[in-house]
């Protein structure tokens, strides 16, 4: 029997997902034996035309990382959808928009203005910006359209499974690959990671004495971070209560708070809204009768960047999607 064909592709991403696959080490070599990898631009010399030449449904599974920011990315994911039986959204960006999704706090014009005309070292008296079509003396050069709004993969094509994390942890990647190879997949649409929130697996949870109550919000550089105490108890915003576990608590073990890359725990629709409500509750705002409005405002002012903190990885996937266009 022919080996199943597997594709890896990246859209608006950093390449970290691809390196996470490389870092599977011996397991990668085993996977490469068991399947026929027919597209992986970072590692293998197959081109777009090779994918176009396949028949619909000929690829067993395509792992796609990155958000969709540009026109050619939309074309390629639609092509891969046609040619593939299964699509797995690989990593935070494909899953929820990820860090590039913070671009939705601004418009295309604002981004172009800053990048090509305003940064202190740019020298651009003619105000040139990249164009979709540029005539040159011997022909024409084209660039894909830069969209106003960053999209998640499933906002453009049906996605069968999600592999969360920035990047996804090795064990979850291998579980997903093995599930595909052995045909032991859960119901369509599942996130291939544990359902529990991170707080349930956090090594600092045991040290927490009952409920958390924050008197004042602190930023990570403002205090000497305790190596064992719950971050929320220290007044540091941590997205552990609203984020899916399965990451191995890698940031927490390095003594830094969670920023939510694994996405919302099961049952939560909007990670940011949930985070806001959790923070509001630990701020003691539910019993705010005793506080003056001034005191409540002062407490909340401690959250210096609500959108960029609570939606660090999930803005395009949220109920907000983006900042309102003027």
């Amino acid at each position: 029997m022919a080996k199943p064909k597997v594709a890896f592709y990246s859209c608006a991403s950093c390449g970290g997902c691809e390196e996470a696959v490389i870092n599977l080490d011996e397991d990668l070599l085993k996977v490469a034996e068991a399947v026929d990898i027919i597209l992986w631009p970072a590692i293998l010399d197959f081109k777009r035309k090779d994918i176009e030449a396949f028949e619909d449904g000929e690829i067993a599974v395509s792992f796609i990382n990155g958000a969709v920011r540009l026109g050619d990315q939309e074309e390629m994911v639609k092509l891969l959808r046609q040619r593939s039986q299964l699509i797995v959204a690989f990593g935070s960006c494909a899953h929820m928009g990820g860090i590039p999704g913070l671009g939705n706090l601004y418009t295309r014009n604002a981004i172009f203005q800053r990048v090509y005309k305003e940064v202190p070292t740019v020298e651009n008296p003619e105000g040139i910006t990249p164009q979709e079509r540029t005539a040159i003396d011997i022909g024409e050069l084209t660039l894909p359209e830069f969209y106003d709004t960053v999209k998640t993969l499933d906002q453009l094509i049906p996605v069968d499974y999600y592999l969360p994390g920035c990047p996804p942890p090795s064990d979850l990647i291998m579980n997903a690959v093995n599930a595909v190879l052995n045909g032991e997949l859960p119901e369509k649409g599942a996130v291939l990671a544990p359902d529990k929130p991170l707080c349930d697996t956090c090594p600092r949870a045991e040290e927490r004495r009952g409920g958390v109550s924050i008197q004042e919000i602190k930023r990570p550089h403002e205090i000497k971070l305790s190596p064992w105490k719950c971050f929320l108890e220290q007044g540091i915003i941590c997205l552990g209560p609203v984020t899916r576990s399965g990451c191995g608590e890698r940031c927490i073990k390095a003594n830094m708070p969670c920023r939510g890359c694994m996405g919302p725990a099961k049952g939560t629709i909007d990670q940011g809204v949930k985070a806001l409500s959790v923070i509001a509750s630990v701020l003691g705002l539910e019993e705010e009768e005793g506080m003056t409005e001034e005191e409540v405002k002062k407490l909340l002012d401690g959250v210096v960047d609500p959108a960029g903190t609570f939606y660090r990885f999930s803005l395009p996937d949220s109920l907000l999607t983006r900042k309102r266009m003027e």
Binding site: I22, D25, P41, G103, P130, T134, K224, C251
Partner: protein, 457 residues
């Protein structure tokens, strides 16, 4: 008029496309390297708290996330006007050298190396890591995997995650190193020294340098450009990845500029073209003269060969020995051979292994004193490191609360973008004649990009 498209360029991080225009006789009229990608970090960092920058800007490039994390963290030291503790500096530098070694190994064996170890003319199906292991042997394959694992162990112990580490804070790092961890680091460093010697003195010397066809490619004219070179150097003008001042030499090797991170706007400018999303860095004090070579063009190069060209030597003995050997073989310094970037990468690999060994032997590494809490009001901060691919600048301006009001991020890819375009065009013009195009010829054009190890994310 015929047009040849290579889409995507493969075995590099991120996205790239090549368009080659042929005239009626089938000779190359023009060739373009386009980056069809932009995400807009320089805008969407605005409004974010400065202390989060190391955890946000690292997503510019997952392959060099430690480099962005470190440049960003150093920019925060400057922004909050706080000096990291002595132990924190050493731990950062250890992690950083471990990362450079890990990345150089990744590039050499997975991305660039297949062209040399397997062969530039071999079929697309063989030109990859599997082909490398088949050629170099399973034992070598095992070593490649093992050394990368150990180096990742060092990064993970300090930074939490290998891809997108989290430990950087203004004034230091988030947690100390334990004695047990340090013992593991010593074993990793020792293993790396052995591995680097094996790669440099056995694999490269035997498989590549003894092959006349490859050596001719490296030293020949197809992949050669006379440009300025930039790199970070220590107080003795020796290559340093983590800290020091920036030095620029002209195409004849004469020092052209020497400056610190805060002075970068006096030396670097960015040019914009309408047909690509990437910007083109050039030397402000020479000026943008287009995609041309020589003293009168502000085009400069960064990365392994550029660093060696811009420095007076290597700070460690084995690396210095191999450095002298390379320049003797190439016959000139600065060396202008783009494919010699691979060679220079191995000299740097030797250096990182020796530097790591120095650092892990320092008992201060396990000091609990790893952070100074900032007390000053932030205004602006700049940080620079040598990423594996070349010099990397981060610059933030903030309000008095430390909320970013402006970010300027100059990545190595952008510093090399003009010379990469020139390299592609020259390779295309040299290799395509009478309209004859094969997979191997197209791959040899792509080789002109891979040598730079660009990350076009």
């Amino acid at each position: 008029m015929r047009k040849i498209t290579i889409d995507p360029v493969t075995r590099l991080e991120g996205h790239g496309k090549i368009e080659i225009f042929l005239d009626k006789e089938g000779e190359v009229e023009r060739a373009y390297f386009q980056i069809p990608e932009l995400r807009g970090f320089e805008k969407f960092c605005e409004g974010r708290p400065a202390e989060e920058m190391p955890r946000i800007t690292q997503r510019i490039c997952g392959g060099c996330s430690t480099a962005h994390h470190m440049a960003s963290t150093k920019a925060l030291d400057d922004l909050f006007k706080v000096e990291p503790t002595s132990a924190a500096k050493k731990i950062r530098e250890l992690m950083y050298n471990s990362f450079i070694a890990e990345h150089h190994i990744l590039h050499f064996f997975f991305l660039g190396g297949p062209d040399f170890i397997v062969g530039p003319g071999k079929s697309a199906k063989e030109r990859n890591i599997m082909g490398v292991i088949a050629k170099a042997g399973m034992e070598a394959g095992g070593k490649i995997i093992e050394v990368r694992k150990r180096l990742r162990g060092v990064i993970e112990a300090i930074g939490g995650k290998v891809i997108h580490p989290v430990c950087g804070l203004p004034g230091g790092i988030s947690k100390p190193v334990t004695e047990e961890e340090r013992k593991g680091f010593i074993r990793a460093a020792e293993y790396l020294v052995e591995f680097s010697v094996f790669v440099a003195f056995e694999l490269w010397d035997n498989i590549v340098l003894k092959n006349k066809e490859y050596l001719d490619l490296i030293t020949g004219d197809v992949y050669k450009h006379r440009t300025y070179y930039m790199g970070l150097v220590d107080e003795n003008n020796k290559v340093n990845f983590y800290d020091g001042h920036i030095r620029v030499v002209d195409p004849n090797g004469k020092e052209f500029a020497s400056f610190n991170a805060q002075e970068y706007p006096d030396h670097i400018r960015e040019h914009v073209e309408p047909w690509t999303y990437v910007k083109f860095s050039y030397l402000k004090n020479v000026g943008w003269k287009g995609f041309v070579n020589g003293e009168k063009s502000g085009v400069f190069r960064v990365g392994p060969m550029a660093r060696l060209n811009a420095a007076d030597g290597m700070a460690t003995p084995l690396a210095q020995e191999y450095y002298e050997k390379m320049y003797e073989a190439l016959g000139e310094k600065p060396a202008h051979n783009t494919l010699a970037f691979h060679w220079a990468r191995l000299i740097e690999l030797l250096y990182t292994s020796e530097r790591m060994l120095d650092l892990v032997g320092d008992p201060e590494l396990t000091s609990p004193d790893v952070i100074n809490i900032p007390a000053e009001i932030p205004t602006k901060g700049m940080g620079v490191v040598e990423a594996p691919e070349g010099t990397l600048f981060h610059h933030y301006e903030t309000d008095e609360r430390g909320i970013v009001t402006g970010a300027n991020l100059i990545a190595p890819m952008q510093n090399n973008s003009a010379s990469i375009c020139m390299s592609i065009e020259k390779a295309a013009k040299s290799l395509i004649h009478k309209g004859k195009v094969t997979d191997s010829i197209l791959n040899m054009i792509e080789m002109a990009i891979r040598a730079y190890d660009p990350c076009n994310d």
